[in-house]
Symmetry: C2
Subunit: 342 residues, 2 copies
Amino acid sequence: MRATVLEGVGQVRLVDVPDPVIEQPSDALVRVSLAAVCGSDLWPFRGQESFTPGDRMGHEWIGVVEEVGAGVTRLRAGDLVLAPFAFADGTCRPCRDGLFTSCPNGGFWGGRHDGGQAEAVRVPFAESTLVPVRAEADAELLRRLLPLTDVMATGAHAVVLAGVRPGSTVVVLGDGAVGLCAVLAARRARAGRIILVGRHPDRRDLAKRMGATDVLAADDSATVALVRDETEGGAGGVAECAGTQSALDLAIDLVRPGGTIGSVGVPNGVDSVDLYRLFRHNIALRAGVTPARRYLEPLLAEVLAGQLDPSPVLSTELPLDDVAAAYQAMNARQATKIAIRP
Amino acid sequence: MRATVLEGVGQVRLVDVPDPVIEQPSDALVRVSLAAVCGSDLWPFRGQESFTPGDRMGHEWIGVVEEVGAGVTRLRAGDLVLAPFAFADGTCRPCRDGLFTSCPNGGFWGGRHDGGQAEAVRVPFAESTLVPVRAEADAELLRRLLPLTDVMATGAHAVVLAGVRPGSTVVVLGDGAVGLCAVLAARRARAGRIILVGRHPDRRDLAKRMGATDVLAADDSATVALVRDETEGGAGGVAECAGTQSALDLAIDLVRPGGTIGSVGVPNGVDSVDLYRLFRHNIALRAGVTPARRYLEPLLAEVLAGQLDPSPVLSTELPLDDVAAAYQAMNARQATKIAIRP
């Protein structure tokens, strides 16, 4: 089959690899229906995160089960399934606590495991990892479902970590796909006011359509004072959806004493946290990789009911043959997120 | 009157200063009944925190009201009062949220404000700051009340920040006065297991008498593995009561995925937080200076009811004349905490 690999900095290529096979009784083989390029795929692509040449790529994907191992009884060939960006055994203490991403037997798609930007994937711990859709899916529904596997779950996690409650005010930092999904999630959580702070003026209208009540520029020096004025000294919750040093510093500027920063961006290049400022004003820092599996069922139910549509974060769609072009476009910020169709 | 000042590194002296007078209608003048030397007093004493020569010292104290300003109606001369280590206006947004230490009009005792290691103190915002005891107090009761103003409130805050719930397991890091008070607070919060990790073998028995179910050595390389084994991969809550880099790093080693570190020690010399490890395992970091005022009434009620006695953290008592000797003894770790009687 064909699979996307990272051969060097800036060098993504579609190559022929051996077809995956069932290795363990708990495995499933899944044919990929739709995948995406994630902002975090760009870190190794840019050489800002270590990788081994030949690493498989892609951790956002959905597909159709082709074959299951002897131990898999709750899934069958033909099922359309959502794959959270991490697989997990479902039985250890972290999994029982809903911390699937801390499973000692689990892992993330890509690298030495199969990646989602490919024709098929071997899924370990298939029953505890995959969530069947149990509905007929056309191309439009696939586009609505795909973001659940990472960015929509991550937006939901950001809002949980930031402690958003009905009627509360939340600042969402970052207008990438995760930030936009956090806006959707904050609306689901019935936040009273959703202030998106981002760097891309061209995403302002989209953010408002997705539920932001205010959109402000991260690089405008007036933004901090404006948010503080409007929120009696800062927001109770800030959902930090970028994972950069400047975003974390800005989050501390925008949160009120006693408030909470929920941070879901992979901390890339973040080398300091102003612990004294957190301490001085009792600001909670809740940073965490999203245990996406925990969020899939409720998000799926809302998509199927027509109450949630994160597909606007997919700015375009390309065939798998053009995966290298998709990376180039994402890297040049010509697209928020690109869907890849095998 | 006489007051303790810091004249240089290692140089604490009792000097004559002008008697404090009422300056604002909301002030009270309070004669100090009992004060203490706090571990955090040692930071500037050792030159590990900046100070201005001549700074007043002492932020843990209780006393008797001598005179009140025209705007003070709920306190009168003769009232025995508890003074939380920060004063606050009681009306701003942070105060209304219970974040008295973030009051923009408030401050901390000592420095350019009056200090508690003195004969008397001018108290700004007296009504919102001071808590009257409304009971006859003998020397023993004064010793039980004094720790509420800082270390006992801080122990209680650590337990709140660490998210201790009935039946849960908490690791308390630090066997100084705050750590020992956190043990008491964890017992009040009905923690099922209270594991104290400290550096002083001689405090082991005291810690157990105060409620620790286990006492382990911070510098024993087996401690991390032992705690992880006993808690299925780490404690859900860690109350970090030291404020040092090594304690924070150890806290991250001892907390489970999805758990919470409550950190109440002033971060002194802490220059890095392993944000990636927090992120990787969804560990919440809740660091905060204690808004002591918030905790005084419930703690006072428990002391008066005979249900709480933090006085064992006071290892000895010296007259105000010997305050310099008290600093020397605390600095040499010959005492957990020394009470000072004017």
